[in-house]
Symmetry: D2
Subunit: 332 residues, 4 copies
Amino acid sequence: MRYTVFGESHGSAIGVVLEGVPSGVELDWDFIRSELRRRAPGQNATSTARREADEPEVLSGVFEGRTTGTPLCAVIRNTDTRSRDYRKLQDLPRPGHADYTGQVRYGGYNDYRGGGHFSGRLTAPLVLAGAVAKLILKERGVSVSARVSNIAGILDPTPEEAQRAILEAKADRDSVGGCVRCTVEGLPAGLGAPDFGCNVEGIFSQYLFAVPAVKGIAFGAGFGFAGMRGSEANDPFCLVDGQIRTETNHTGGVNGGITNGMPVEFEVVFRPTPSISRPQRTVSLSRMEEAELVVEGRHDPCVVLRAVPVVEAAAALAACEVLGIGSGAGAR
Amino acid sequence: MRYTVFGESHGSAIGVVLEGVPSGVELDWDFIRSELRRRAPGQNATSTARREADEPEVLSGVFEGRTTGTPLCAVIRNTDTRSRDYRKLQDLPRPGHADYTGQVRYGGYNDYRGGGHFSGRLTAPLVLAGAVAKLILKERGVSVSARVSNIAGILDPTPEEAQRAILEAKADRDSVGGCVRCTVEGLPAGLGAPDFGCNVEGIFSQYLFAVPAVKGIAFGAGFGFAGMRGSEANDPFCLVDGQIRTETNHTGGVNGGITNGMPVEFEVVFRPTPSISRPQRTVSLSRMEEAELVVEGRHDPCVVLRAVPVVEAAAALAACEVLGIGSGAGAR
Amino acid sequence: MRYTVFGESHGSAIGVVLEGVPSGVELDWDFIRSELRRRAPGQNATSTARREADEPEVLSGVFEGRTTGTPLCAVIRNTDTRSRDYRKLQDLPRPGHADYTGQVRYGGYNDYRGGGHFSGRLTAPLVLAGAVAKLILKERGVSVSARVSNIAGILDPTPEEAQRAILEAKADRDSVGGCVRCTVEGLPAGLGAPDFGCNVEGIFSQYLFAVPAVKGIAFGAGFGFAGMRGSEANDPFCLVDGQIRTETNHTGGVNGGITNGMPVEFEVVFRPTPSISRPQRTVSLSRMEEAELVVEGRHDPCVVLRAVPVVEAAAALAACEVLGIGSGAGAR
Amino acid sequence: MRYTVFGESHGSAIGVVLEGVPSGVELDWDFIRSELRRRAPGQNATSTARREADEPEVLSGVFEGRTTGTPLCAVIRNTDTRSRDYRKLQDLPRPGHADYTGQVRYGGYNDYRGGGHFSGRLTAPLVLAGAVAKLILKERGVSVSARVSNIAGILDPTPEEAQRAILEAKADRDSVGGCVRCTVEGLPAGLGAPDFGCNVEGIFSQYLFAVPAVKGIAFGAGFGFAGMRGSEANDPFCLVDGQIRTETNHTGGVNGGITNGMPVEFEVVFRPTPSISRPQRTVSLSRMEEAELVVEGRHDPCVVLRAVPVVEAAAALAACEVLGIGSGAGAR
């Protein structure tokens, strides 16, 4: 199964094409819409005020409520696109954003309005694709769930702690980062391989790094492995109801690039939202001289809360690849 | 450029095939051999006693000392393969190793002797491929260097601190983990894309997770981003000798999945060597009952020191992909 | 550059996503529309009466009239979708069509109305993608042109001969096949490689077999090579204006899988339209007994005339791949 | 399953790496050697006098006589490499050969001796890989067989006719082309898809065009479709022993890019061997002036007879891909 997200923040629509979808999967639209709502902005004081209808239209690949197995295209129209002068961002690239790299990469031809193709809004079609993936996984007994594991340096924060830290940053016209921890349950042992391009950690990482603002991924004990000894880190094998399991799951469900039957667990880190309304130092590209920039407009002081369903979506798509769904011409 | 590592620890040979190599690259064998020596075991008290000649033989893709542009195959013969009864490992899988997952994945047909295809020895052909990649990168002004950034929880340890921590663990019949930090200098701005499969972090991560024992990767400030504010994390743009640079490099040289012209920096974490000589709990697969296992034989109490050139090799191959070397039929 | 065509004949829309498009390409919509018109049905007595507006809407990847370099999605709404009982086709699969194979492949969940995803209508977004490819090629001095080289067994027929043969078949409630010959001019020498997945003939063939009803492809002298001697078949080298050329071009511009600087020439064969209104023998899938079928509805007695721009489109996309356009993360 | 052939005619070895091989396949070496012998030269008066031991050495991926599921590398040493001055070919490229295109493609760095990587000798590792593929297919009830269907324009020649035509050409210091027709039996209905990269014809064609000297491929009635009417070309469905079959197989077992359960049938055309000992016109690349060339040395006046097992090998590898063998991380 292969997904391609397309669209720009202020273009006519955003969307996704999914290839290799198994046929006959019943699309539960209540579920899909609820997933989109989990990601939607404007839900509380800590997120951007932009309202998005985010009602997707399926153009292909679905017939009588079920997937046909042919490419599924779904689009979401862009409606609330305020017109502002974004052209300034082309001259004064925002630190931490992709304004500068996008301009170099695309020779200045990219649609810079509202972040264009780099906009966090592009995670809506990703969540949509992930919702389809979750429905496919559900039929195979696989589930994906994620949670906020760090906000502003606070480990496993309560909602109150998280909100307080975010609002404090907002009051300072600043932003905060954090982490999301994700678990994929139900993958059988024996999927993946140690080789380049086939190992489970590498496959998951490629999907997760396609989520904007993700800067790191680690499995199981993750960077904590650095301070552990082998005797702590090794997960002893045991029998549970006659099944081979491990007593602990420090390895995050993967040994030698192959699933071991325990839940696949990983954590990703999100950088603080680069959009802050404090003055920042940048360079005027037209005059090639240093300059100061104050970023205006709506933006989240923290994307981590809304990122939870996005991480789940990326993980669900990765799990489909690990299961070999839709790969190869022989797929049926 | 695509690499495929093949071989088993106790088979007749290990090796690598490199496709998409540019033609005309002069292979500096003093350099290639020195890279292999950096990885070779048996160099000091902290590493395994196995001696490997590791003298590669090039079978194809090189003519009169330069790459031809056709697939390059190099093999390293296995010589020091002590015969022991590895069959026990098939029945009593070692915790933390791929004995169990390999057996499930390959239906019990994999060559389990000495770790087989999962053996750390397979990093020798990876280093060889990486050395070729470094020579290609050198012609393009790109260099790769890595260093140990953590041993046994000690940040940026001195050689003495590292050795002490490792020997302490060895004395306890235990092992330690650690981190390697890597920098790729010279990549121009504008490489990569935000999309799945094209973003620079995702590309690097896929190469790095193919290194055995790597369990996490993070770019720039990495997991430290969780506790940072946007005002700290954003790298202000500045001019250096008329060139656009950033004052800091918290983002690790990548914004929106695209290089920004600053060094690409990342850190990987290595789990502690799973091979420890303490008694461990496991399961007898033949009798399906819990059992105890004592792993014998030679093994490193810490792979992190020897992993430095392996990380560099993986990063060099990733940098070639990011540069588009050898990709596409139109490559010349 | 990678294209994905989506949609079903009687769904809400058909379309295409193009990834890896170079940025800054000016989209000449008069040209793109004229290409779509060349393929459109209902133009003369020999083609189906279905009228299609075929006016595409670009959803992404274009800004201020030029490509942005991000995924380009264009859709064409389906309007003239007559409702008929296509369900009969599910029970009585039409010989020569994909009714049966589609049903097996997609477990009976595919949208069978009007051929669904197998419909020739899906060549409209392919022509659209090909038109974009032609504009990209034009900037690089490469052009693609095709012509009908065989209709109903008549070699290089005049328009009158072609029309007469088609109308004769139509009068017989039958259909005819034919060939299209295509030339790609301007590709420099040295593109491609002999290896699997890289050779120029293999790349072109993969694009051309994605055109419905194509059953064969041959380069240069093609199947005529079987009756030639080496002394005839070999193209002698010569100098033309100081450039290395060949006197003849029997090899079709490719030697050893690599372009030689001469035009790339190939021919594809189209099977006769399977939709004929004569009674045909088939099997009732529900009753598992042999049955007779009379196919009703509009259909072309010959697709070859309309296939010319489709062949060009597929060839243009192939030429982009051969040139390495949009391949690799390093593409700019 | 992915194969990579490496090596040069006069290098130290040629070989192949196979990735994605299912584990546990018993390698019948009598069979594999017999396949290599079918391709080996020097067997009769019509083929080159070069003797090749062609005894392969397996370096990896096999344990106790069965495949392990990890990359399988096998090499064949080059022994009978007569030293001649091949350098002349670099200055005076042989018409019909890849001397010129190879030199342009690889910037003059390719190993030109004896055809280098373009040599027909590279089909030995391809046959080896194909033999492994056949053993895999055999377990799944799929078989591949090919035969000479045309020599020097003679359709379905008897061995005597074929030999006479070849020897006549040889006496004229010339060469002849021909065709090979191949049948793959046992593939179930429902494999493949109409989409680019997934359709069965496109997959087979990519494998077949990687065979040197193949210039065309056509399925079922092939180019004969051009002169057929739909009423002849359509294969009526029927029931055979309660199974859905078609009365004829003009479509060659594929409809809409998907297998229909009938044998997959195709024909490939081979150009006449470009190596002929008649004087030919070429260009001196060093002096950039037209010149005459007489090619010396051993060469086949017709490769078609020896190509039969090569076509089967390519078809067997294609059939594995169509069956989805070894594709995806989830492959087991």
